[in-house]
Symmetry: C2
Subunit: 354 residues, 2 copies
Amino acid sequence: MRDVDRMAADVSSSSPDLQERGTIATELRDLFCGRPVLVTGGAGFIGSNLVRRLVCLGARVTVVDSLLPDYGGNLFNLRDVRDQIWLSVTDMRDRNGLAYLVKGQEIIFNLAGQVSHEDSMRDPLTDLDINCRSQASLLETCRQHNPDVRIVYTSTRQIYGRPKYLPVDEDHPLEPVDVNGINKLAGEQYHLLYHQVHGMWTSALRLTNTYGPRQLIRHARQGFIAWFVNRAVRGETIKLYGDGTQRRDLTHVDDVVEALLLASVNDAANGQVFNLGGELISLLDLTAMLSQLCPDVRYETIPFPEERRKIDIGDYVARWDKIRGVLGWTPRVGLCDGLRGTIDYYRRFGDHYL
Amino acid sequence: MRDVDRMAADVSSSSPDLQERGTIATELRDLFCGRPVLVTGGAGFIGSNLVRRLVCLGARVTVVDSLLPDYGGNLFNLRDVRDQIWLSVTDMRDRNGLAYLVKGQEIIFNLAGQVSHEDSMRDPLTDLDINCRSQASLLETCRQHNPDVRIVYTSTRQIYGRPKYLPVDEDHPLEPVDVNGINKLAGEQYHLLYHQVHGMWTSALRLTNTYGPRQLIRHARQGFIAWFVNRAVRGETIKLYGDGTQRRDLTHVDDVVEALLLASVNDAANGQVFNLGGELISLLDLTAMLSQLCPDVRYETIPFPEERRKIDIGDYVARWDKIRGVLGWTPRVGLCDGLRGTIDYYRRFGDHYL
């Protein structure tokens, strides 16, 4: 039994009550110190926050990122850990490159993706190549060159489509309403299939709206929260579609990183999918919260643009009992604190994001 | 209102009781006579049977087929209608070619696909390119060059995975157990999405096990029924996995063709998915039925090969009330008659298939 497996068994056998944050942090340091770990999309928003945490835990981190314009990869995100990682500018569509990079890794955090719903509708085949074809390609590559690696995949709530009930649990029907959702669903299903059929170690987290430092906020196509932060930092008007009462649950990126780490070291996550969730808020209330942090910011409500209305999913809130029960994860960062930290970050480093 | 639309309205408003076979045949002739129609995969098993029927109905048929080895395309299937169609040897992955071919068509029967589950596991990316990427590509091409075309897509029961209940209706969870199922699901979802978001006319039929003349029966990778027919015609032993009691419902290809035609001309099919079904039988009883037609044939039971067991779905039978209610379709060809005709066909033309 490898160390990482033994330690993982220890973590999974301890009860959630005992898994206080301090204890987990110590255990995680033991688990990751010196471990070879690959992060795809590691220069992006969630990826770079994860990479920085992994570096803190002493992991030997390889970062793969295509640095495609508009996709979120930003070397500034990694500037102060640049000497402690191996950064490879590699596109997930480059299978030869991947074959080399996956060898010898113990864990792959597979975060690379195209996240814009609008872009997926405008250019379905590029979204397909990245979110669907590259995922199958990565799994095949691992099956051939490193079948024992653990793979944690970041899936998305978008695969559920318009909620038929709230909160949405993992058994909710999967009826995506845009190309991005279809391709991400296929990507997730490949991961689970390679577990079921080929016995590989894979797990998937279905993320909801993630916010925090290091997100691409330059344009409005990486989710509404990024754009709201942009407007707030710039002191410009936030435009709310419809009446602004649609509700979303928001997860701070630090909590997402924690979930990724926990999933990667706990055998109970193998072959499983888990919802993440967070604080529920209407877009109107979110705007009010931002205007407390940035007094200049204003909002107005406007009719839904036609192209956006067609793929909007209405209210969404996740049930995340499963990951709490199985992995002991709960979100820790309150929305108000999280937003304050986010705004502070962009006020300080906005030049690199705006 | 185009003629095809007006006639379709007539068909959909008549009650199923009135839609006797003769009446429908006359109506279909009126609907298809002179119509420009494209059949992708038109040299294959179901495609060629459809093409022959369309030619009988007087349609102006364009056939697209890649004629890839092992995929089912066979020019012998079209030998006696060759002068009455336009045949283009075009791969669905060739987007430029498709752009030309879709222009001016009123109906596209989109049947081209990779159907082998085993092949999809051995070569996931080829399956993905054909069953997933090419579908998105075709839809994008139509959206740009012929957004008013009607598209009927052949989906598969494989997207349900292992049935959680029987009979399986269209609301059954979608949890495919092999790469082919994942990619076909994505392909179906693209079709429905292009209806929902772009207002295109699309419909999908979820086929179960189809049998009949003109199927590739040379190897065992196009479904068990093709291989059973091969063994029966050659008088060789049929090997049943497990104890042979697993049950399947079989649809004769003529009934599938009828369903495709009905779906294409009835606006009630727009944006809908429909299960097809047929006669339920255990593999053991099917073998017994074949041995009445081919006295030399024997069977033996053998343990499931490991690779096959992992992606087997167990018993399957479809609920097809929806297509009966909405389109007035019912299967007409009895299994015994259908198998007799199939065996006769291969006895006569086996040289072109064995």
